[in-house]
């Protein structure tokens, strides 16, 4: 009898748990199809500051079935290898991924890994972008549209107004711009600054930020290429632009101007907060970073002046949809929304990422934008007009690896651990190794 009761109990338990499972399954189904629309979560992978938070909220409000989940990696250098792995493995990447100009060629070389956005109605958007930015999003054979442009990195220079004043230098942004027509002038100003201030405050932040700025300027003046030519051949040794940028940066280190902290590392943000450097190159996206890392304490102390050497560009990105996304249509719609003129204007207001859309660049909200964090600098006026005239610089597939190798040597020179004389030849050989050709 007891055995039977046992069995009875067991049977009861089975029935009960089955019923429970069925009930929860039903509940799950109900939640899923509330109004015939499936709930979709779109994951956006990006780096640095894209300034999209408000846009996400707006988009979610307009599309109740869509939830957006941003996975942000602060440093581009950390972001790239992850994205590479996800794309190669065919799993792990978000539905929307940001691709920076320095790594765009690498990813465009795998066009079958990305959705052709023309299939989702983006083909008609050509006039919404500066021509070269639109072109930059096309696959190498021009048949597929892989990415839609977000921002461009037209160039200015951020400086600490208060510290310049303290050093007895002109501190008004026009006067500051006037005193450094060339990079050699800039170094001379730096020497004066260092003589007057001294102590723990250096004139520039990291050698690598200045090096990249000058490199892009020099490349833009000449061949429009840096370490690689359009055929992805390694041309660092024969490209005068790289040598010129390298030498100019070494000069800065030799003059003792560099703080030497690694860009975007913890020591960099500490140095920023503790007034340990007085200038930093400011492509438009840098404004957002300085504000983010500097915090409230630095508000109003910085200002924006023109960059020595006349104009230039560094950075800027595209948004793409990997083919591994399960919701390519929804993802493509989100990309179109974020890169639309109105989306770019909103991103500019949040993070000062300079639009790549002519309509957005001409929008009064951009043109007339003064940035209170940077002493009300008219950043719209400073950046927007130059953006229309920018020329793209070709950055080869292994650009990031090579760049990191050269940056490390420049930092070693700033640390005084590598002699400037042997720096260039070591940089070339390290670069070759990083490119896999040495």
């Amino acid at each position: 009898m007891r055995v039977i009761r046992h069995r009875g109990r067991f049977a009861l338990a089975v029935v009960l748990s089955a019923a429970l499972a069925a009930a929860t399954a039903c509940a799950g189904d109900d939640g899923k199809s509330s109004d015939g629309n499936e709930k979709i979560t779109l994951t956006v992978d990006d780096f640095g500051t894209f300034g999209y938070q408000d846009l996400y909220k707006q988009y979610e409000a307009q599309h109740p079935n869509i939830k957006i989940n941003e996975r942000n990696v602060p440093k581009l250098d950390d972001y790239t290898p992850r994205l590479q792995q996800w794309i190669a493995a065919g799993a792990g990447a978000g539905d929307v991924v940001a691709i920076e100009e320095g790594i765009m060629v690498k990813f465009k070389a795998q066009p079958d890994k990305f959705v052709d956005l023309k299939k989702y109605g983006a083909g008609s958007l050509q006039n919404n972008f500066i021509p070269w930015k639109w072109q930059g999003g096309m696959s190498p054979d021009g048949s597929k549209l892989i990415g839609l442009g977000t921002d461009v990195g037209s160039m200015a220079l951020c400086y600490r107004r208060d510290l310049f004043k303290k050093a007895g230098l002109p501190s008004d942004r026009d006067a500051v711009t006037k005193q450094w027509a060339t990079w050699d002038d800039f170094i001379n100003v730096g020497k004066k600054f260092t003589a007057a201030i001294g102590g723990g405050t250096k004139f520039i932040d990291s050698p690598e930020t200045y090096y990249n700025t000058i490199l892009m300027q020099e490349a833009g003046k000449g061949s429009n290429q840096t370490y690689f030519d359009q055929g992805n051949k390694f041309v660092m040794e024969s490209n005068p632009a790289v040598k010129a940028a390298f030498d100019e940066t070494v000069k800065m280190s030799q003059a003792g101007l560099a703080n030497g902290v690694q860009f975007l590392s913890d020591p960099w943000s500490q140095a920023l907060k503790k007034d340990a450097f007085a200038t930093a190159p400011c492509p438009a996206w840098m404004l957002g970073l300085i504000k983010q890392y500097g915090g409230d304490g630095q508000s109003g102390k910085w200002d924006v002046a023109g960059v020595p050497g006349g104009g230039g560009s560094w950075g800027g990105s595209w948004l793409a949809v990997p083919t591994q996304s399960k919701h390519p249509k929804e993802a493509a719609d989100l990309v179109k929304f974020l890169t639309s003129a109105q989306g770019q204007v909103a991103a500019f207001k949040t993070a000062n990422n300079l639009p790549s859309s002519p309509q957005a660049l001409n929008d009064s909200a951009v043109k007339a934008f003064d940035n209170p964090y940077f002493n009300n600098a008219p950043v719209g006026q400073i950046y927007a007009p130059a953006a229309m005239n920018l020329k793209p610089v070709y950055l080869g597939a292994d650009n990031q690896e090579v760049r990191q190798a050269v940056e490390a040597d420049l930092r070693a020179i700033a640390q005084g651990k590598l002699s400037p004389g042997s720096g260039w030849s070591k940089a070339v050989s390290d670069a070759k190794k990083a490119a896999g050709t040495g």
């Binding site: 440093k75 792995q85 190669a88 913890d266 070693a412 640390q415 590598l418």
Partner: protein, 321 residues
């Protein structure tokens, strides 16, 4: 109640036919000889799948030119010959051994002394014995981040303390010796207590009567330590040394975080370890073949060096034997 559901007592067993009986005996013999292997088999099966197979597969990859995109091509041992002339690889080997020596030698000596102290009679022994394990409980990332801040160039505590002694600011990441020292400090902080507990366990297995006899003969504490504790602790010392060798040669997280997460281990690769170089090749440069070759070299290094350590320690601690 439980009795109700039990099978009835095997009354029939006694009268079972001889054939079945023989089967039973054979089964029970098999049970005795086979069961132990079956019990330990899960480990070895898992090891086969998750240890041995990857090991073999990595070796296969290392014989190929294998990049992330495109096909791979069999190139024999060419990755290895390239490795032997790669100055970045040898730099990493030098760093790894340098940091291993700086970290492990003082660490094991310290752990031995600490264990000896903990082995004495004291109040609240468990509290103190568990206390030395605390650094191990903290996550390695947290330790590395805190220590990296302490070894900061401009605002670090280490430089602040040093300036009282008139020492100029040290850029800890910029020199080989200083970066090795900083990384070794992190390693020691985490592992000294752990090793001392293993030593302590070994010490407690040493019969107390030996010490009493030695004390009656007038041997000092120091003498007792060197003449009784250390020789009898030999197996433990060998074990701890080999475990530390394996751990030390695989050093990765501490130097990585010490360099702001950059795989190159400093502007001139001052503190890049072999494990970091492996990772840099495989997952930053995406040269899987070459990275796998580095992995296999690391494996061989650990094997050879552990054997080498084993022989030396057996000699040093065993003396007469």
């Amino acid at each position: 109640m439980a009795l109700d559901v039990r099978p009835t007592a095997p009354a029939g067993a006694a009268v079972a036919p001889p054939g079945r009986r023989r089967l039973r005996t054979r089964l029970s013999r098999l049970d005795v000889s086979l069961s132990p292997y079956l019990y330990i088999s899960p480990f070895y099966l898992l090891f086969l799948v998750f240890g041995l197979f990857p090991l073999g597969y990595t070796f296969w990859v290392s014989l190929n030119h294998w990049e992330m995109i495109g096909d791979h091509e069999f190139i024999g041992l060419r990755n290895y010959t390239r490795l032997l002339t790669d100055d970045q690889f040898w730099n990493a080997v030098g760093n790894t051994f340098g940091m291993f020596v700086i970290a492990t030698v003082p660490q094991l000596l310290l752990a031995l002394l600490l264990a000896n102290a903990l082995n004495r009679k004291m109040r609240a022994p468990t509290l103190f014995r568990m206390g030395v394990l605390l650094p191990l409980v903290t996550s390695v990332a947290a330790v590395a981040i805190v220590f990296t801040q302490m070894f900061g160039r401009d605002y670090g505590m280490a430089n602040w303390v040093l300036h009282f002694f008139g020492v100029h600011k040290v850029d800890w990441q910029a020199n080989k010796w200083s970066s090795w020292l900083a990384v070794s400090t992190m390693v020691d902080w985490r592992w000294t207590g752990y090793n001392s507990l293993i030593f302590l366990a070994g010490m407690q297995a040493i019969p107390h009567s030996l010490y009493e006899a030695a004390a009656i003969d007038g041997a000092s504490r120091m003498r007792q330590f060197w003449k009784i504790t250390v020789p009898l602790l030999r197996p433990t010392i060998v074990f701890v040394t080999i475990i530390s060798t394996i751990g030390g040669l695989q050093l990765f997280t501490e130097p990585l975080l010490f360099n702001n997460g950059y795989m190159n281990g400093g502007s001139l690769r001052q503190s890049q370890t072999v494990a970091m170089y492996m990772f840099e090749n495989a997952f930053n440069r995406f040269q899987y073949g070459y990275g796998s070759a580095v992995a296999w070299m690391l494996f061989l290094m650990i094997l050879i060096f552990s054997l080498f350590n084993f022989l030396i320690i057996r000699r040093l601690a065993g003396g007469e034997k």
